[in-house]
Amino acid sequence: MAGSSSSSIMDNLFQRTLDDLIKSMRLHLLTESSLISKSIEDIRREIKSTDPQTKSTALQKLTYLSAIHGVDMSWAAFHVVEVMSSSYFSHKRIGYHSASISFHDQTPVILLITNQLRKDLSSTNHFHVSLALHCLSNIATLDLARDLTPDLFNLLSSSRVFVRNRAIAVVLRVFDKYPDAVRVCFKRLVENLESSDPQVVTAVVGVFCELSCKDPRSYLPLAPEFYRILVDSKNNWVLIKVLKIFARLAPLEPRLGKRIVEPICEHIRRSGAKSLVFECVRTVITSLSDHESAVKLAVSKVRELLVDQDPNLRYLGLHALSVAAPKHLWAVLENKDAVVKSLDDEDSNIKIESLKLLMVMVSESNVVEISRVLLNYALKSDPEFCNEILGSILTTCGRNVYEIVVDFDWYVSLLGEMATIPHCQKGEEIEHQLTDIGMRVKDARLQLVRVARDLLIDPALLGNVYLHRILCASAWVVGEYIQLASDPLELIDALVQPRANLLPPSIRAVYINSVLKVLSFCLDCYINQDEDTAASYGNSEMFVVKKDSEAPELVATCEGSTYEQDEGFNPRHSTAESSDDLSVENDTDRVTHFSKRKFTHETVVSLLNRIESIFGSLTANQDVEVLERARNILAFVQLIKAEIIDNSGQNLGEKYTQVSTVIKSIRHAFSMELGPVSISAQGRVAVPDGLVLKENLDDLKAICGGDIEPPSSSTFYTGGPQFGTTLDGSSSNLLKNAESGPSNESTSLLEHRKRHGLYYLASDKSETFTDDYPPANDPKSNSNEADELAKLTEQSLLLKKRTNQMKSRPVVVKLDDGDVAPIPYKRPEPRDNSLSGAIKDVLLGSETHPSLSLDKSSTKRKGKKKQGTDIPSEMKENLGDAEKLDPENPNSSSKNKERRRRGKEKIVEGGESDQRGKKKSSHRHGRHKTHQRANSPLNVVSQTPVIPDFLL
């Protein structure tokens, strides 16, 4: 069309160049996005032009916009191919550059460039070759790599260094995409290691450095070449790469370490280049840790880094120490001062590095000291780092069920202190540890209650959202272990303080539940003390006078009775208690101070009144949890208040009969001790007969609606059937609620159990409890509880043995199996791919040959020189036919390769690694795989004698 040709001329004349585009962008005449969209419009038109100049300029602009402004250019892929095929170098360059930027494995037109690349790869103009190589290194796909391997092979021995070292670098990508290329190219790659040209050596060492990441063992036979470079090379870049290779090889072959340690130390001493010295240090620390003098030298270098002015070097020094830490803790301890000093560094990265190191240093003996130091730093540092510190203290101390904590009183106080740090945002973790310690460590409970009290009575803390979870745990702790509290009334005040309405409903509900626990405890004590005094003095006034001396006993009896009743109440529980009798007595001893507070009739009545008025307002609360619990408390208070007030003047001997039964029953409900629950506990519960688990949940209603009593209630009622008879309707309601009290989420948990009990029991052990608090000893698991308890006591006994070595550490309840899911240190499976298999094949082909024919491979080892020539001779045979192959016909070539490989397998089988099975092109190797599996035992034999004696 005439119009289009004329417009293309116009385009050509008035086309804006890339420079124009950049200039107009800088002028900000239009907003960036509108300018870009306008330019794209132009480009779309210009790129269709038949004039190569216009087209390539358009592509150049598009590439620029794509690279800098992230504009999509996938639509122009075909034009890229067109520009690539231009014969002008400047156009071609634009095309190749855009291809390397925009093409990827899924680009469809990538199939079209194979021939263009081949043409350019064999061009006499080495700039064209270089363009093609660069492009290939960026975008090579499996197909491209396979089809161009022969061309690459030729370039690997090109006389033009400029081309050769690029070809070497491309090999890396080609091997990655098409492992079979190894069979063709590997020998020439190895030959280049001996090149006298420094550029080539740089490139080839770089390639081997990357290759050896994946499967270092395959490259052990090349150690002599690398060694030569390590000793001879003057180029620091090359030396660093070689050191990296040795760092991977040395752990595989102890003899290698002996050999390289001296040259490396020499570099450390002599070299002025910090990068090289650092690399040497790192190599020594990671891979040559058996060589004491070398490690000492390396650590002394690290010390220099730690005190350097340059933050980079300080950072790297710390980094090196953390690498050294697992094997050479002394190196870290030696530099402790510098590490602690770095906590104050201006740079957060350095601070975090030093924090990590400090955490590595922590042990039973210094945990107190280090935590103190860290907490001081946390107080004055910025919020982010503060929480970093708190987080690491919590993780370190909590590891393996508080392994390193000996003094739990100290640790609990520390947790409390953390909570009061203004920036603290670790509420969740602290919450978990507070409750967890409560359940696991009996001896820590007294301190725990004290700490919880201090947190609860501080009204300021309620304003901090991050602390709510901690307050939640505190409320639970004081409710659960109220018998250890010095002043229960004060705690009730704290729990019902007006600012508590700042809490979210879920935590409010925990507060309310704790109020119920504390209240029932107070009333229980009050009634017991009344009864006691009634028996001995017959007069309540007398009691008040005598109280100070009497009270400890009171508490003791109060506790004693609780436990007594437990026995009839729940047999399995009492077995647990009997093993812990000692500590129970201990506890009661420690509660002597409780006597300071007296429960007179007046205090109790005013307490009840206060609770009634406060919770009265909560009955209008929106949240069901809060509402229901508040109502329960109210009902309870109203039930007993009347009688307590009425009975004030009567004879003490007969009063409160009804009230005391109610209160006692509630106390019973709360008295059962909560223990930690194993993650897999649920899985151990046998599935009841006739329970269908896999059924569609649609009929959930039908099943649940079938009035299934919550299992817990049956256990409860068997303990005290008389309650059911003596109580009226409302109080039995209350009882039901109370029995599930120990697990704070009364209704929701009941519901939860009901459902989970029915539906999720059979799920495997991975089932975890996600409740805020571990649920109470689930009655459902009764059947298995006995064994669990037996195991549990065994555990505690074992633990006790350990404690006599130093200051006695309280018993920490651990469950036998992963209640903290054990994190086994798993060495990551070497993600070998077919590449390493191919390389082993090529490199070890000649090695394994003798090992198969005669098993005395080590005696047959040849000297270093011999070895070097050995590989090529074997290789040449293979390469011989590789060269004969017709490169034009990939089909026949692949078939040929397959044949060759099978032929080779007969000799080498052992050298093959199993990972070969994962080959991308596995469909072609089906037969090969089965073949290999059958031979797998051979692998073991031939894997061992990998490194020959040539190094020694």
Binding site: D19, I22, R26, Q60, Y64, S66, A67, I68, G70, V71, D72, F89, S90, R93, I94, H97, H104, D105, F127, S130, L133, H134, S137, N138, F162, N165, R166, I168, A169, V170, L172, R173, Q199, T202, A203, G206, V207, C209, E210, N235, N236, W237, I240, K244, K274, S275, F278, E279, R282, P311, N312, R314, Y315, L316, E346, D347, S348, N349, I350
Partner: protein, 143 residues
């Protein structure tokens, strides 16, 4: 792969050059660049030049108004990368003479070319300034 990407960013956070040695989609690149630039530009000169981000370790250095950011694998020698950045700057300086941000903007292709000479597949293949610049000078002469 040693080097995963090379970025040049001015102190306003605008990308001036981006070279990746692994394929990322345009969106991935933009988010990555955004995150890294935010992280690195906030740091001052008394802080160290190494930042960890995702699974990269970023080594950066500031020259006048331009930041050079290189993303490397864990385990790469950080000091060597700093030297590499310096080498790149020196090479550009030799070519452009007192190189500045504008040179890079208007001669992006040449800078890419230099980078290509120095790095292939994430491996540093050439460290001699003369060798790096020879092809570019040849091309300048012919065009």
């Amino acid at each position: 792969m040693g080097i995963r990407f090379v970025l040049m960013v001015n102190k306003q956070g605008q990308t001036r050059l981006a070279q990746y040695y692994e394929y990322l989609t345009v969106e991935e690149r933009r988010t990555l660049e955004g995150e890294i630039v935010r992280k690195c530009l906030a740091r001052n000169e008394h802080q160290c030049s190494f930042v960890e981000h995702r699974n990269y370790r970023i080594v950066y250095r500031r020259y006048a108004s331009l930041f050079f950011l290189v993303g490397v694998d864990d385990g790469e020698n950080e000091l060597a990368i700093l030297e590499f950045i310096h080498l790149l700057v020196e090479t550009m300086d030799r070519h452009f003479g007192n190189v500045c941000e504008l040179d890079i903007m208007f001669h992006l292709e040449k800078v890419h070319f230099m980078l290509e000479e120095m790095v292939m597949n994430g491996c540093i293949v050439e460290t001699s300034k003369a060798n790096i610049l020879t092809p570019i000078q040849l091309m300048d002469k012919t065009s």
